[in-house]
């Protein structure tokens, strides 16, 4: 048997992996932004994105241009996320922190059922932000690379860069980092912690909304679209370290690449065992480094 390395195939798998990984990374970013602020895992993050994507599909059917639709989805997501924090999560948390988990699971089911009731169970088309005709590709070292795949990756980089600037260069970003560190001291320097939490949940849902719009064209918009993505996204958030946006991006891309390379090159694992194997690998990493790849272990000198 001759082992020839097929560069073309490899590049295609690489691009596929980066593109899938970008979606995981965006969802992981959303989870991390919420977790940093309020210390909670928003189980409904994926389903919130599902609702906004359905709203987006209605808008595009009404003739809205795609870019405007995505923007509208992000804004809707922002309002939805902020409202969920203010009117459901916060009152519940005051009563019992465990109740918040129940609320989040309730939201997960609720948003899915609402989508089914409003938009039905049939899969829908969703237009792509990028050129997505059969011949919209360019040549990279002999491989045909679709613009749509690369576009998704660049959206991730753009959102990552914007978040970085937000966190490091703006007052609200400073407030978010302060609140992520300790609520009490944040209050004592005059930060309105409640508003910062609303903003964080809104921002997270907006990022999720963009992820939904990006994946819908290739995955097809259906009620179960976000399930698997959310599992990967939360796995990426955990692997990266739940409080690290950089970790979310790196881990999301790594999972996407792993996913695509295992499918491509390791026949034994194939499609069915894939998720199990990947979650097993994450478990191994967390055994060695419990705070995740980039998560902060709070060591304090006294």
């Amino acid at each position: 048997m001759i082992l020839a390395f097929d560069t073309e195939l490899f590049i295609q798998r690489l691009v596929d992996g980066l593109s899938k990984g970008s979606i995981y990374a965006l969802l992981a970013l959303a989870l991390v932004v919420v977790f940093r602020g309020s210390g909670q895992l928003n189980f409904a993050q994926g389903e919130m994105a599902l609702v906004t994507t359905y709203i987006g599909s209605t808008l595009t059917l009404a003739g809205w241009p795609v870019w405007l639709t995505v923007l509208a989805c992000a804004v809707t997501g922002f309002v939805m996320g902020g409202a969920v924090e203010r009117f459901l999560i916060r009152p519940m948390e005051a009563k019992s922190p465990f109740a918040v988990v129940v609320v989040a699971i309730g939201l997960f089911l609720g948003f899915n059922s609402i989508s089914a009731a409003v938009w039905g169970v049939d899969a829908r088309d969703f237009p792509s932000l990028f050129p997505n005709q059969p011949d919209d590709f360019f040549n990279l070292l002999g491989a045909n690379v679709r613009w749509e795949r690369v576009g998704i990756f660049f959206v991730l980089l753009g959102i990552g860069a914007l978040l970085y600037l937000l966190f490091t260069r703006t007052k609200i970003g400073l407030a978010m980092r302060a609140v992520a560190n300790t609520h009490e001291s944040a209050q004592l320097v005059g930060i309105r912690v409640g508003r910062v939490l609303v903003f964080g949940w809104g921002l997270a849902a907006a990022i999720g909304a963009v992820a939904g719009c990006l994946i819908a064209p290739s995955a097809g918009l259906s009620l179960s679209m976000m399930f698997g993505l959310f599992i990967y996204g939360s796995a990426a958030a955990t692997l990266g370290g739940l409080d690290s946006p950089l970790g979310a991006v790196v881990a999301g891309l790594a999972l996407g690449l792993l996913d695509s390379m295992i499918i491509g090159y390791v026949d034994i694992i194939g499609g069915d065992l894939l998720l199990t194997v990947i979650l097993g690998l994450i478990l191994l990493v967390l055994l060695v480094k419990p705070s995740g790849l980039f998560g902060s272990t709070r060591v304090e000198r006294v």
């Binding site: 407030a175 980092r177 944040a186 209050q187 004592l188 005059g190 000198r301």
Partner: protein
């Protein structure tokens, strides 16, 4: 400047303060002494508004007993919380910037000013606050509170967990700040001896009530009070 009357506060159904009366004058240093559990921290929290409270808390002529914590900061009261409460994941410089959160405009001059007063913080400006020693963190917590340009600074047990020599340095710095900036100080302390040396007046808190009050110098000289309440 600060006039507290009939202050009640606590946590949920448990009342810790049962009607406190005390005042802090313009530019004054006042210390509240008391053992663990007397209600010292609760008193400061009640002023800052991080817990709910009843009674009258007049500051510069406004009743702030219903104000939210951020409104209290905007009114000119900053608190250095117990255990310092620095933002350990943020750099020293970002801690100071966060301290100026309620202010508008450029705060660089203030940062330079406090770096001048605390040169060790200047050397560590890019380090995370969590990597600082206890004494440095306490200095940072004070500098952060001063970034809001308060008229009244509340300090919750600044000596806690610090070596005696660092504590002395700290009280020296606090007294100097008070003299140079005119910022009034309300200190809460267990270390009675040092606190009484820099304070003008003192209150002794016992299980949520004020047991004794008077001039710091008088309390420091009164052997009966010292043995009964202060353990020195």
């Amino acid at each position: 400047m600060l006039e507290v009357k009939g202050l009640h506060a606590g946590y949920g159904p448990i009342e810790v303060l049962h009607g406190l009366d005390f005042t802090v004058g313009e530019g004054e240093i006042v210390v509240i002494l008391g053992a663990n559990g007397a209600g010292k921290t609760t008193t400061l929290r009640a002023i800052s508004g991080t817990i709910s409270r009843r009674g009258s808390v007049m500051f510069d002529g406004n009743d702030i007993h219903k104000a939210s914590p951020d409104a209290v900061v905007r009114k000119g009261i900053a608190q250095v919380p117990q255990g310092r409460g620095t933002f350990t994941d943020l750099t020293v410089q970002d801690n100071l910037l966060a301290g100026a959160y309620t202010r508008k405009g450029d705060v660089k001059d203030d940062i330079d000013r406090w770096f001048g007063v605390f040169p060790r913080l200047a050397e560590r400006r890019e380090q995370k606050a969590g990597s600082l020693s206890g004494g440095e963190q306490q200095m940072l917590a004070i500098a952060r509170a001063l970034m809001s340009r308060p008229k009244l600074l509340l300090c919750d047990e600044p000596s806690l967990g610090l070596a005696p020599i660092i504590t002395q340095e700290l009280f020296h710095v606090l007294a100097k700040l008070n003299k140079e900036t005119g910022t009034a100080l309300l200190l809460v302390e267990q270390n009675a001896n040092l606190a009484l040396q820099i304070a003008q007046r003192a209150y002794v808190l016992e299980t949520g009530r004020i047991a004794v009050s008077g001039d710091a110098a008088t309390l420091l000289d009164d052997d009966a009070i010292k043995t009964a309440y202060l353990g020195i």
